[in-house]
Amino acid sequence: MQIRRFRELVIGSMVIGGLAMGSVQLSAHHSFAAFDMSKEQTITGVVSRFDWTNPHTFIWVDVTNEKGVVENWAIEGMSPNYLGRRGWSKNSVKPGDKITVTVRPLKEGKTGGMFIRAQIGDRVLMPTGTPTDER
């Protein structure tokens, strides 16, 4: 368990490092131009929908901002094909879950971003999971 946790951290760091350097292209079909890759932002809210769809998963989160207004955030993740082989499933995120998510925010102040990591209760979700046939 310790080792697996460490592995996830290492893989997660590699991916984030890679994304930051632009050397590892994990997104098959688009660039990162829409995201501010120099920033990290953490939001907390309630999941309203989880799209377990190609070409990307989307976690939709209702976030109450400082003015008390509920904003809907769209958080893009890896595809179900990629994540499904690495420990995620369509049930990894459910409507009603209280979630804290760290993202690379969208540019121009739009309420969305690219998934970096999340926590739901005790569970930590990493952007690439862990290959299930290599544990």
Partner: protein, 258 residues
């Protein structure tokens, strides 16, 4: 009259050349043909490029290219194509048409961060590519390459087995495919791929692009793939929920309307 006959004969010769491949009819496989397939290197199952190397590899190289040098030399371009590449870069496009779900074609489709499955049958190697749900056919039944191929995203491929290595030759590419991101190809680009098992569950694909108009030297990249016996290919319908886009000016967009 004699003139007409000559013209007819000439037309026939041209037609014969052009349609040499299209008219090739594979013979019905025999039991011996299937037995021969069983003796080929075991390419069966699902393979995915490995981490490591960090090179981008050949061709719209949007996938990670395991086993490639950390900073592979890019394609060496002729002055005319170096200028085309500069002009493309000067446009400052933020993304490619793949953001609109257009598959990259060859050679980029072989460098995606998704697995592929190899199917071996008599006279044919079929590659089922998960990214964009694509399929390539490499004919090993002795047919020739077409003399005047149509321009396809995957081109037209034939292959042969050389000491356990599948050597595939591919010609005839759509102008919408690229040698590498922002680098167009000429009409006579040729791609030779060498598929080799280096241990029971590891495959290398060495890809060499030649192009008399675009390249001053062959452009070779190598990928390493690992077999995942437990995996199967999943569907990848890019239009299912595509919220990314790129417009005619290269501006990337994202639709976050729920």
């Amino acid at each position: 009259m004699r003139h007409a006959a000559r013209l007819f004969a000439a037309t026939l010769v041209v037609a014969t050349n052009v349609h040499a491949q299209q008219n090739f009819v594979p013979k019905k496989p025999t039991e011996a043909d299937w037995t021969a397939v069983a003796k080929l290197p075991d390419f069966t199952g699902v393979w995915e490029a490995t981490f490591g190397g960090g090179g981008r590899g050949a061709g719209g190289g949007r996938g990670r290219a395991g086993g490639a040098p950390a900073f592979p030399a890019g394609p060496q371009l002729t002055p005319a194509y170096a200028e085309k590449r500069r002009a493309n870069q000067a446009k400052g496009a933020e993304d490619s048409q793949a953001a609109n779900c257009l598959p990259p074609g060859m050679p980029g489709i072989m460098g995606q961060p998704y697995p592929m499955e190899f199917l071996l049958t008599p006279g044919l190697v079929t590659i089922v590519i998960e990214a964009y749900s694509q399929v390539r056919h490499i004919y090993t039944d002795g047919r020739p390459l077409p003399d005047d191929p149509d321009q396809k995203f995957f081109g037209t491929s034939i292959g042969r087995w050389e000491n356990g290595t599948l050597v595939a030759e591919t010609v005839g590419f759509s102008p919408q495919t690229e040698i590498a991101p922002g680098t167009p190809h000429g009409d006579h680009m040729k791609i030779v791929e060498r598929f080799t098992l280096t241990d029971p569950d590891t495959m290398t694909i060495e890809t060499t692009v030649t192009d008399p108009e675009a390249l001053t030297a062959p452009y070779t990249t190598t990928r390493t793939l690992r077999r995942h016996r437990a995996w199967s290919i999943a569907e990848y319908i890019c239009e299912e929920n595509n919220r990314n886009s790129v417009d005619a000016n290269g501006k990337a967009g994202i639709n976050i309307k729920k």
